[in-house]
């Protein structure tokens, strides 16, 4: 993985994914505050993203690295009409690694082609967000002790949610059983189901999960957004079906954990927060260890 950009979760094999997760566990167990001494990491955020940016910056800072970059492209030469190529070629002179979020899809791959240093994709529009997927995997591994043979419930907007698509692709390495819970309009796209068929992995589709929730090892919640519906009546009909409440957790497995990429709006009721099965805030913390592992591995320090 040394010197290689991370653009898509599909860039990593099963072994490489496991390697990153094992490095993340090492960082969690034993912080290394001097590992990135003398290293400069650029964080180029062409669109606002508080959570991902802070997580990356925290990851670098806790390893002793320096950060240069911007949090909003309006204060940069981009407003003067500089191309992405020119920005990347310039910035790659200033740093050892570039972390970039950009609103255009495919921008991360393009940046990795023109950059002299490795690029880590922190989200390219609606396309890929591989570090989110790796932190999701780390959270699953940490709470379940394994990634193999789990029953994963993906809930909410399965049509447009890039996090669920990437998580699905990554979990296909581990003999996962999938349960897709979504309104008709937001079902998992056909191409992913065909891919699971090809691999011979089991999946089930539902429009409601109260009956089957007791089988879940992981519930991965996403938000059902009003804008996704062509008919507002349809949204009104389904909006409450996909809200997780404390009472629903009564007969669930003891090892169940609830994940959410955050920010949450109302799809997980706040009364769930008191349950020890609520894991979304620790999941965010895991993002720091995972990003440390990704950066250290690409820089050849682990």
């Amino acid at each position: 993985m040394k010197s290689r950009s991370l653009v898509s979760i599909n860039d990593y094999s099963k072994e490489e994914i496991l390697k990153i997760l094992s490095i993340a566990a090492d960082f969690e167990a034993k912080p290394e505050p001097d590992l990135l001494n003398g290293k400069v990491i650029s964080t180029l955020f062409y669109e606002p993203s508080t959570r991902t940016r802070l997580s990356f910056e925290s990851a670098v800072s806790r390893l002793g690295g320096q950060i240069v970059g911007f949090t909003d492209s309006s204060s940069t030469s981009v407003t003067k009409g500089e191309s992405l190529k020119d920005t990347i070629m310039t910035v790659s002179n200033y740093s050892d690694l570039i972390v970039m979020r950009h609103p255009l899809e495919g921008s991360a791959m393009y940046a990795s082609e023109v950059s002299g240093v490795p690029v880590v994709n922190a989200g390219d529009g609606a396309n890929q967000h591989p570090t989110q997927t790796l932190l999701d995997l780390y959270s699953i591994l940490k709470t379940q002790g394994t990634l193999e043979n789990l029953n994963i419930f993906l809930v909410g907007d399965l049509k447009y949610g890039r996090t669920v698509h990437s998580l699905l692709m990554a979990m296909t390495h581990f003999n996962t059983t999938f349960n897709f819970i979504s309104p008709q309009e937001l079902q998992m796209p056909e191409e992913y189901k065909l891919y699971l068929d090809e691999l011979g992995l089991k999946y089930y589709e539902h429009t409601d999960f109260t009956e089957i929730i007791s089988r879940a090892d992981i519930i991965y919640m996403t938000r059902v957004q009003r804008e996704r519906f062509s008919d507002p009546m349809e949204y009104e009909k389904v909006k409450n079906i996909y809200v997780l409440r404390y009472a629903m957790l009564e007969n669930t497995k003891p090892n169940l954990k609830i994940l959410h990429p955050l920010p949450r709006v109302n799809e997980i009721h706040q009364d769930v927060d008191k349950s020890e099965k609520a894991y979304y805030f620790t999941q965010a913390l895991n993002g720091v260890y995972t990003r440390q592992a990704i950066i250290a591995s690409i820089l050849g320090l682990k």
Partner: protein, 152 residues
Amino acid sequence: MKEVKQLSVSGIRNGTVIDHIPAKNLFKVISILGLEKFDNRITFGTNLESKKLGRKAIIKVAGKTFAEDDVNRIALVAPEAKLNIIKDYQVVEKYNVVVPKKIIGIARCVNPKCITNHEQITTRFTVIPGNEIALKCQYCEKITDQEHLNIR
């Protein structure tokens, strides 16, 4: 009365005849092959009758043969095109275009949010197998189907 078969576009002595081009895509084919930059004698006919295509076009390029990889790029807009290599007024070789596995730099990605539509980037697509032509962008991973196919 017996139908007399006659050439609508005059024959060439040596060169290549590209037949069975859908009439509406003639100029796209010309542009993909870069024929406007050729010095060779080129004749073409369009809106010719065709049982298969309704209206077809034909291009005759004198004194020129094409590398197969180059000519296969026209499969995007003329998947049924047939090439005849002519020597001394005789057809010495015939072949059909084959849809290539990858398309570099000809087509435009349909996704308005794709980086290739915002920076000067040579587009790269993987051709998805099937009856209809569908291209998967190697940058944004979105699919451009035949209906939305746009030649740069």
